[in-house]
Symmetry: C2
Subunit: 104 residues, 2 copies
Amino acid sequence: MFGLFGRLTAKPGWRDALVEVLLEASRGVAEVEGCHLYVVSTSPDDPDTAWVFEVWETQEAHAASLRYDTARALIKRALPLLAGPPESGQTLTPVGGLGLTNYS
Amino acid sequence: MFGLFGRLTAKPGWRDALVEVLLEASRGVAEVEGCHLYVVSTSPDDPDTAWVFEVWETQEAHAASLRYDTARALIKRALPLLAGPPESGQTLTPVGGLGLTNYS
């Protein structure tokens, strides 16, 4: 499995709009082959930060998902809301646990 | 909701034993009130690192879970495997997404 934990920083006042785009993305990936988890969080410490935790069957499934028209349209909507380019985030190798019960 | 993303660093060679303890913890929290996700990952970049992503109904549910005898026994097993004290990790406010579908 392939995982990512990444931070997005919105321009001041635009975090909730960014979260809306991310939640829309999470509904999109639910229809895509190979996505197990796509959890969107805000930060109790920083009003401009959103976090995404993603688990995919493979790294290729994740890369392929970004090439869909729907994903490209959402990325296009998200970019102007960001204070800077998205950070690369922490790459993970999920091995199991609650929420990935087939794998534990 | 209350979330945590935290890193644990094992003594060299002990990461897999640590992951076993964490997966056992994930089966334990599956029986506990208020735990939605407890995903255990390793790191493709560092052979001694394990990551845990947790989502709880409330911060109180998370705090209460640590007081159970089972949790205390698992913490006792994990501590000697660690290279240092657990880092505090990133606190999150999960708002929804795939894997938390009741909330999106």
